[in-house]
């Protein structure tokens, strides 16, 4: 095995082009488990923690650029205001030790249907900035996942950053697990109000082959809400929204829960998160 340790982003991209088989290594909270248990033996490891620039975030015009090296802890500590949905999701990840090391980009790289960042990124309408020696492209998070634990990155590509607009309205994240810490979601749900566009964004986790949006639910609720007058939630809207979210899921039975339970729980989480977010919006 080779241990490749670029010091700059350009070097990292060049190394990935020369070693397309190299496995990128960020916080290691997924990769090292695979290595420790002999489940994977990549020809080489491409450590990205030596690229200092990656661990930064900054506002770039009206978009927030979250470098691929930014950890959950940094999001919790520094971005609670700008990205409340992602920060709430980040607080539920693993333990302090895992959050101190694990990155949002690594969550995308693992592309688990249960990854906690995904519903929040979907609801916020985030894009993944992907780079190779061939150039840069931007992939909406909704198009990033190709199947369970699969994504659309080419072998020579790396995630450089996640691009997301700072919240212009309330955002919520809800997760079902067997306890409060250290759990993979049984299922999860992210919701973001985008008052300027009069649109509601959603993200469903761990209830389909990939994380996904609930498009019909988004369209329905975006039209029903009294954005201008900030009036109360119209009768039955939250319930119908929950049904449509549940409808968008295609869960399976597995060790963590049954498909039936997941559908039920999603409807409840969708209803509740909409209620919380709308109440916050009405207060202004």
């Amino acid at each position: 095995m080779e241990f490749l340790r670029p010091r700059t982003w350009n070097e990292a991209v060049a190394v990935k082009a020369a070693h397309p088989e190299a496995l990128a290594l960020a916080g290691g909270t997924d990769v090292m488990v695979e290595l420790n248990f002999d489940r994977t033996r990549p020809a080489s490891l491409l450590d990205l923690t030596g690229v200092d620039d990656l661990a930064h975030w900054a506002l770039d015009g009206d978009v927030l650029r979250l470098g691929a090296g930014v950890t959950y802890s940094r999001v919790v500590d520094e971005l609670g205001f700008a990205l409340p949905g992602l920060a709430t999701a980040s607080r539920t990840v693993g333990s302090p030790q895992i959050r101190n090391r694990g990155t949002i980009a690594g969550n995308l790289g693992s592309a688990s249907p249960a990854g906690d960042a995904h519903p929040a990124l979907l609801a916020a309408g985030a894009e993944v900035e992907v780079e190779s020696v061939r150039g840069v492209r931007h992939v909406p998070v909704a198009e990033f996942f190709a199947g369970p634990k699969r994504h659309v990155l080419e072998p020579d590509e790396l995630i450089k950053a996640i691009l997301v607009r700072p919240a212009s309205g309330p955002q919520e994240f809800a997760k079902i697990g067997t306890r409060n810490a250290m759990v993979i979601a049984v299922c999860s749900f992210g919701l973001a109000l985008h008052p300027h566009a009069r649109r509601v964004g959603t993200g469903i986790g761990s209830a389909a082959a990939t994380p996904r949006r609930a498009l019909d639910a988004e369209r329905f609720v975006s039209e029903e809400l009294d954005w201008q007058g900030r009036g109360p939630l119209p009768d039955g809207v939250a319930r119908r929204f929950g049904e449509l979210v549940a409808h968008a899921a295609e869960p399976i039975d597995d060790g963590r829960g049954t498909a039936r339970y997941r559908v039920h729980a999603l409807a409840v989480m969708a209803r509740r998160t909409l209620g919380w977010a709308w109440a916050a919006y009405r207060k202004g």
Partner: protein, 155 residues
């Protein structure tokens, strides 16, 4: 490969490190620092908790090569630290140590908490120690120990 890393203030160099090897393995098996424990090797138990550049992490999930050029502080490196001393005494007094396997990881995690939040409430203590498993005590004594240590260090 060769890995150079500062451990507990001393520059150390080890050779013939396998590229996929964890920092935990290097500390325990190559540097003779068995304080950090190895139980799960998957980030679940926290018994391998160390500081990496001042941030608490599971040493089993850090590749040795990622620690190169960085600063590692293990439970051994907390021997002369006042806060850790207060924690150790409080752990003994509160009965928070039975078999002791989880203790070094808990000392580092609790130390990290008290450095950031000198007077934590119970929710903060629980949250900070959520990544550390103990199979013996049932945790109440551990919470009690952290409370005692916090009272003492703040004075």
């Amino acid at each position: 490969m060769r890995v150079s890393v500062t451990v507990n203030g001393t520059q150390r160099q080890v050779d013939d490190v396998w590229e996929g090897e964890s920092l935990l393995y290097v500390l325990r098996e190559r540097m003779g620092l068995p304080g950090s424990k190895n139980a799960c090797e998957q980030g679940e138990c926290g018994s391998c908790t160390v500081y990496l550049d001042g941030v608490s992490v599971c040493a089993c999930l850090v590749a040795a090569g990622q620690a190169a050029g960085r600063d590692v502080r293990t439970v051994e490196g907390l021997a002369a630290d006042d806060g850790a001393h207060a924690l150790r005494e409080a752990f003994v007094e509160a009965g928070a140590v039975q078999c002791g396997f989880c203790t070094p990881g808990l000392i580092v995690a609790a130390h990290d908490l008290l450095e950031r939040v000198p007077r934590p409430d119970d929710a903060e203590i629980r949250e900070a120690l959520a990544g550390n498993l103990c199979r013996c005590t049932g945790y109440e004594q551990i919470l009690d120990a952290v409370r005692r240590a916090a009272e003492r260090t703040v004075g």
